[in-house]
């Protein structure tokens, strides 16, 4: 009897866990569809009080910030991953691994504070660059850890074969090992994108948000999650509607990426989600 109750309780728990997911996705799609016009993707926000306008500048801003972030996050992350896999099976490697996990666990707002102190205070103004730096720092641990994992899965015999043929060590790593693992590294980069694209807190006081077209590195920038946040705490119905539509577009992109990666490689965003 206890057995039956326990099994039922466990099954119920799983069902309860699925409910918020369905509710959130359902609500976002239901509310967001109403505002899905072409103008959403092509117009910038109208002055407060006027209806209409869209989030085009936020979409462009998000893309620019992600570009800056990847310029920082991808080279450092892949390089650190190569170090950990090829040269890091020792105490130095353990230090770097531990530090990377620490960096992964730092709350995103603390990274925002650091980017503020490092970039905004030095430059004297808020900027897209500062937002990109903050998000780039957040990308590093994800890319590094997954790159190391993927490189370790390349069989040792491939390395030995290449070295045995006389290919120099650096060429082995670059052209043989990394090339074998390229798809894994690409998917890890996509997962890092998916995670970082939805981050708002680091952008609150680095990119600051804007209602104009923004693409210059030294200007304030709008970003989709930031714009959604700023609209959702206003009192205007049409801005709140735009927030829902923006949320729908953002979720579609992020969940699309995560599902695609999972479908292709069976690797997930969470460590235990294999």
């Amino acid at each position: 009897m206890v057995n039956a109750l326990a099994v039922a309780a466990v099954s119920l728990a799983a069902l309860i866990v699925l409910t918020p997911l369905v509710m959130i996705l359902g609500t976002v799609i239901a509310h967001g569809m109403a505002g899905l016009h072409w103008s959403f993707f092509t117009q910038i926000p109208k002055p407060t009080g006027e209806t209409g306008g869209g989030m085009a500048n936020a979409i462009v801003g998000s893309v620019m910030i992600l570009l800056v972030a990847s310029a920082i996050g991808i080279p450092l992350g892949v390089g650190a991953g190569i170090f950990l896999a090829e040269y890091g099976r020792n105490v130095y490697g353990n230090i770097v691994r531990f530090t990377s996990d620490v960096l992964n666990g730092i709350p995103s707002i603390v990274i925002g504070i650091t980017a503020y102190a490092l970039v905004v205070l030095k430059q004297g103004h808020f900027s897209l660059l500062a937002g990109g730096v903050a998000l780039g720092i957040m990308m590093i641990p994800t890319v590094c850890r997954t790159t190391e994992e993927v490189l370790l899965m390349v069989p040792q015999s491939i390395r030995e074969g290449a070295l045995g043929l006389g290919i120099p060590q650096w060429r082995t790593t670059v052209s043989v090992v990394v090339r074998t693992a390229t798809s894994g590294i690409v998917t890890s980069i996509m997962l890092a994108f998916a995670r970082v694209a939805g981050e708002t807190a680091p952008l609150l006081f680095t990119a600051l948000g804007s209602t104009f077209w923004t693409w210059k590195l030294s200007e304030q920038a709008a970003a989709m999650p930031l714009q959604i946040y700023q609209y959702s705490i206003t009192a205007y119905d049409d801005l709140i509607q735009q927030a829902w539509t923006g949320a729908m577009v953002l979720i579609a992109m992020i969940i699309g990426t995560v599902i695609f990666v999972r479908f292709v490689t069976n690797r997930g965003m969470l460590k235990g989600a294999r």
Binding site: P20, L165, P168, Q169, T200, Y229, I255
Partner: protein
């Protein structure tokens, strides 16, 4: 018949005269010095990348400490125990904010741990094999949803739901505990706890799943062979063996809950006060920083906010280190067996 000679057809084989030109293999010895230099250069670049990761964390600590220097100097230890948060008179005490962080995180854990453990057990032990990947993907979807969208949903769906339907029931049946007093305006510690619980569910569930899959199959078989029912087998063989790792998963979820910013800012009501009732609004470390940083009045205010960030950093560092150690001690770094 002199010395044996190779048959003419084999004297110089085609292979010997035209060795295959493989793309990367060097064909002569002339480039050795160059390739030694390239080896050293590549190794240095890669080491520089790894060192930069450590340097970034060091920079974060350095910036936090220097920027919060004035507040550290002025308030010292009393920062953590005083309750007054007054930007006008530059008096800052973080106790209500720390209280809010602890209460919201504990509430989130209380709600999330049973549900996520149940989900982990269901997915690994009870669920039919075909459903496993689908369910695991669904749980992961919860992790992929950005925090600000949780907040948006929280403001417009969860808070009215709690205010109209859940709060009266809680006040009526559980009001004797003193936790559910006062008027529920909606934006409250309760709403923050519920949203945080939903956000940390996938983390705890996925690590618990990994830990449960690391329990050797012989343990389960031994329990069943001794006549245990399914639940008894789960309790004795699986949960007991995995309990260190599950504890680690819970602590990891706690770390995540404490650092969560956007969703909490949007539903907690942002009032730095200590209140017994869960219906009252509150504030957490992260939500105060998010709200007040851009409008900080004076450098002491900014410095006090950065000191809050330093406290948050240290606490989450400690919690994450404990969690990583606990999980590592069970799985020993081995990847989970791929059931799904």
């Amino acid at each position: 018949m002199g010395t044996l000679q190779k048959a003419p057809a084999e004297a110089d084989s085609f292979q010997d005269q035209n060795p295959p030109k493989l793309a990367l293999v060097p064909t002569d010895k002339s480039g050795i010095l160059g390739s030694v230099f390239a080896d050293v250069a590549f190794r240095s670049v890669v080491i520089a990348c790894a060192v930069s990761v450590v340097a970034i964390v060091g920079l974060i600590v350095l910036e936090l400490v220097t920027s919060s220097g004035p507040a550290l100097h002025k308030f010292g230890f009393t920062f953590l125990v005083k309750s007054v948060w007054d930007p006008v008179r530059a008096e800052f005490g973080a106790l209500p904010v720390i209280y809010g962080t602890i209460v919201s995180s504990l509430l989130a854990l209380a709600l999330a741990v049973p549900l996520s453990l149940g989900t982990a057990l269901f997915i690994t032990e009870i669920c039919p094999r075909q459903l496993r990947t689908f369910l695991a993907t669904c749980v992961e979807m919860l992790a992929a949803i950005p925090s600000v969208i949780y907040g948006l949903w929280g403001i417009f769906v969860l808070v009215p739901l709690l205010r109209h339907h859940v709060a009266p029931l809680l006040a009526k049946y559980l009001g004797w505990t003193g936790l559910f007093e006062g008027t529920m305006y909606g934006l409250s510690m309760l709403a923050a706890g519920v949203i945080l619980a939903i956000m940390i569910l996938p983390i705890i569930a996925s690590i618990a799943r990994e830990v449960i899959m690391a329990v050797p199959q012989q343990q389960r078989e031994a329990a069943l062979a001794l006549g245990a029912t399914r639940w008894e087998m789960l309790r004795v063989a699986v949960l007991r063996n995995a309990r260190t790792g599950i504890f680690g998963a819970v602590v990891l979820g706690l770390g995540r809950a404490m650092g969560e910013t956007m969703a909490v800012t949007m539903v907690i009501g942002n009032t730095a006060q200590i209140s017994r009732s869960l219906f009252a609004p509150g504030a957490t470390l992260a939500s105060v920083i998010a709200n007040e940083f851009n409008e900080a009045v004076g450098s002491m205010h900014t410095s006090a906010l950065v000191e809050l960030g330093l406290v948050l950093f240290l606490v989450s560092l400690l919690v994450n280190a404990i969690a990583q150690f606990l999980v590592w001690s069970v799985t020993r770094g081995m990847p989970a067996r791929n059931i799904a």
